[in-house]
């Protein structure tokens, strides 16, 4: 698996996938739907799948002395690595906003979602949706990227809108907590996001492996 992951990083990946990790810094932007930062990270990953198709990467990988399902697992390992790195970047931003900048007026006077642990849980949910919808959709054919990405974009835009709206509903204001306010709730929301991300990724990987096994290349 180590070698296939190295191959993914050095041969298959588009440089844009790495550049778009920086969109995690969008968690600093006040008055902006910050979860779009997570979406832009997945947009960067989408470019790698475009490159995968253009460079015959799937056929090359399938001919290597590895099991066919390892080709799929390599892609998942790459995607999860990029998502993991961008999550760490977002988490660092959230920690700064929850501590040093917790009373900053630009963030306090912000009608949109605050960058807290709930937002981080939301970012993980978006990564999970990308893995569930786009990745398993891609491995239906191992070359069609448009349809699964469009479906993912529609779902993610609804998700971001819902997350932005939630704290405006009566009784849900605590989701927009500043600093360490409502810490238990924030932690629970982060854990829920992480759990959903893991479940969606594992389910998606299993589906993608069995789809790819049946594909004629």
């Amino acid at each position: 698996m180590r070698n296939i992951l190295i191959k993914e990083f050095r041969l298959s990946a588009s440089p844009l996938s790495f550049f778009f990790i920086l969109f995690g810094l969008m968690f600093f932007i006040p008055g902006y739907p910050i979860l779009l930062g997570a979406f832009f990270v997945t947009l960067g990953l989408f470019y790698s799948f475009q490159a995968t198709r253009e460079t015959n990467d799937i056929l090359y990988s399938a001919l290597l002395p590895i099991a066919k399902r390892d080709v799929v697992k390599g892609k998942y390992a790459f995607v999860c690595s990029v998502e993991g790195i961008s999550f760490l970047l977002m988490a660092a931003v959230v920690i700064v906003r929850m501590t040093l900048l917790k009373d900053s007026p630009v963030y306090r006077n912000n009608a949109l979602m605050n960058a807290n642990l709930f937002a981080l849980g939301g970012a993980l949910l978006i990564f999970g949706l990308f893995n569930l919808i786009f990745l398993s959709g891609f491995f239906k054919t191992a070359y069609k990227i448009g349809r699964p990405f469009v479906i993912y974009v529609i779902v993610v835009l609804f998700t971001v809108t819902a997350f932005e709206a939630l704290h405006h509903f009566p009784g849900l204001g605590a989701l927009n907590a500043f600093g360490t306010d409502s810490m238990t709730l924030q932690l629970l929301m982060l854990l829920a996001g992480a759990l959903l991300c893991v479940i969606m990724t594992v389910l998606s990987c299993g589906t993608a492996c069995s789809r790819f096994e049946k594909l004629d290349l």
């Binding site: 190295i6 460079t55 990467d57 056929l59 099991a67 004629d216 290349l217």
Partner: protein
Amino acid sequence: MAIVEVKDLTKRYPSFTLDGVSFGIGSGRITGFIGRNGAGKTTTIKAMLNLVHPDSGTVSFFGKPMAGNETEIKKHIGYSTGAVSWYPRKKIRDIVDIEKRFYDSWDLESYGKYMELFALDDRKTPMELSEGMKVKLNLLLALSHKAEVLILDEPTSGLDPFSRNELLDIFTELKNHGVAVFFSTHIISDIEKCADDIVYISKGKIVSAVSKDDFIRNHSLDGESLEDTMLRLERSSSNA
């Protein structure tokens, strides 16, 4: 003794059927896989490599079925296709650096030898190579991990006559080292020059899978060249 056994391989497409394809590839033998465009050569090769799933039939390498032993088997075989180039904008040295990680048997000496022989420059990218040089690059990758079986899909297409001759000489050298070389082609003179065995496929069915001498004995008329024999067989198959 066959090092590769293909038995009753069948794959149905809406407009084409690969129909009960069976043949063997001997160790230290050069086997030419011949047939016109669309006869089923590439489908057969892809099915042998588990890239295409046959509806029925089996493929075994070294006495082991491909199903369940794919990883181990692929370490001992080399595959090259004439037309496809991977990662057109990556430097050859970067592609090689990744490829060799997957093979314990990667042979730097062979790699250096074939780099020199094929006059390849590893600072170039595949898109900077001519079609012929791309074929050589694919072959270089296949030859550098000491494969015991080489499966080559139209390796001589796009090569100039000198390079083709060079390649056929390499096949003979590999055969002398016990390597089984299986290559598809529609250039009959390539088969004439170096093949020991001929597998002839037409419209998805194996017409003949015997030694070259037996093929000539069974099918050629007096004084007829192999090329003329093949053309006659194809014409009669088209008229049938």
